[in-house]
């Protein structure tokens, strides 16, 4: 699923809402042992969107952070693809608002993507293909979510909000996407039926035949197709529905803590669904040096995984020079804790 045309990430930006809720606070309401939950999920807290935040506002903030790092005229963006499972409209693309909010030229194509938590990487693959096919000089793509969880559901501990967008092109590339491949099957591990407010899931079924099978198969496929070894990579990032799954997948594949630690943010912000692996990639790009090799594998229920092999280029140093755009660390540090009832209020569930 790739060719020899060089293209990749020209800039990137992320956004994580300011509010956080601690695992202890949710465990208190669910009547569970907080320490046991924290240990079981490898999770301390999660992000909570503000009352006026949704996938559109998160995408706009991430897009603006992405573009503020470059001097690129937004009029040169020919495609905007945003993946989410919480697009505010069922009919009216999130990308249309993002395009106007970044002053893009209407001479562009926009589409929203859906594939559970891997909608963002699916959007990146499509945006990359547009650039490689010369159908777009630049594409802006990625994923954002304000994840939903029914009260009392185990997902309530992890369902979080955040997003990351990437400007893809052929010039001034800071990280070349050298290869991408996918692994997709029909696996009913997690779903949301039409008109339903909250998703449903198959409990323990979401592990072995779903998350682990697809993450491992897709990553092994990428290694086979590129001839790379696990030890060739400086960084590895995986989808992170919780900290435990991420760590187990990384270890199953043979990655060391040094390789996977910077991509793991779930213990601090929860599972940001379509944003999860991509915000992890942003954190890696905030730290990576030219020549570093990065592996990323997403996972989306239903089910599928997208894998990417990226190599960091010299231009990343230039992008960082004098950069005042908030990085992942900024968002991790600027937080305000809320109680369970405040979280309910922010979700406006009090008004029924």
């Amino acid at each position: 699923m790739t060719n020899n045309i060089k293209a990749g990430i020209v800039s990137y930006g992320c956004y994580i809402p300011r509010y956080r809720i601690k695992t202890e606070e949710i465990a208190k309401i669910q009547g569970q042992d907080a320490e046991a939950v924290k240990k079981s999920l490898v999770l301390q807290e999660k992000s909570v969107p503000g009352i006026d935040e949704d996938t559109i506002t998160i995408s706009v903030e991430a897009a603006r952070n992405c573009l503020r790092k470059t001097n690129l005229d937004p009029g040169r963006i020919d495609a905007i693809y945003i993946g989410s499972e919480s697009h505010p409209y069922a009919v009216k693309p999130t990308g249309t608002v993002v395009a106007k909010a970044i002053n893009a030229d209407p001479r562009l194509t926009v589409a929203d993507f859906e594939f559970a938590c891997k909608a963002g990487t699916a959007a990146v693959q499509a945006g990359l293909a547009m650039v490689k096919a010369d159908m777009a000089e630049y594409s802006l793509c990625g994923g954002s979510d304000t994840a939903q969880a029914a009260p009392g559901d185990p997902l309530e501990y992890t369902a979080a909000a955040g997003g990351a967008l990437f400007l893809l092109g052929k010039n001034n590339v800071i990280a070349e996407i050298k290869h991408t491949c996918s692994y997709t099957t029909d696996t009913p591990d997690f779903w949301r039926r039409k008109h339903q407010k909250y998703p449903s899931h198959g409990g323990l079924f979401t592990g072995e035949p779903a998350y682990f099978k697809h993450i491992v198969s897709s990553t092994k496929l990428l290694l086979k197709e590129t001839g790379m070894k696990v030890s060739d990579f400086n960084y590895a990032v995986f989808h992170q529905p919780n900290g435990k799954f991420y760590l187990r997948a990384a270890k199953l594949l043979g990655f060391s803590e040094e390789q996977y630690k910077d991509g793991l943010l779930c213990p601090l912000i929860g599972n940001t669904y379509s944003g999860a692996s991509l915000i992890g990639l942003c954190n890696v790009l905030d730290k990576a040096k030219p020549g570093d090799k990065i592996l990323l594998t997403s996972y989306g229920s239903g089910a599928g995984s997208d894998s990417f092999y990226l190599e960091v280029a010299d231009a990343i140093e230039e992008l960082r020079k004098g950069c005042k755009v908030p990085d992942v660390k900024h968002y991790l540090e600027n937080k305000k804790y809320v109680t369970y009832s405040e979280m309910v209020k922010l979700g406006r569930e009090l008004h029924g």
Partner: protein, 138 residues
Amino acid sequence: MAIPRYWRNTQHYYNLIGSKCKKCGRVYFPQRSVCADDDSAELEEHPLSREGKILTFTVLRTSLSDPSKENTDVIVSEMPLVLAIIELEKGVNVTAPIIECEPEDIKIGSKVEAVFRKIMEKGEKGILGYSYKFRLMR
């Protein structure tokens, strides 16, 4: 707010674009098509700074939301709501909510930056409205 009225204003709601008189240089926000000083119709779009300082503010503690969410515009806002007049550049002020803070954190002269947030839901089935709000610079 009627859909056409919201839609016509999205450029200034989303991007804080004002207008500037080519003759005298006066900047307007929201945009004007004729300069109030010299009657010139030659005005150009003028992007405003996304950072500014608070000139004055008030705190609202009565909910603006319509819990019934029926037929009316629901103002999407957290209570208590801090409304401030913000100077973006000399002579150009905007009135907007200051979010993600406690009212006691805000002082006249505080520096703020624009963020993109939802401001309105037209009932449960209608359009969603987005615009600028501000937060304290950190």
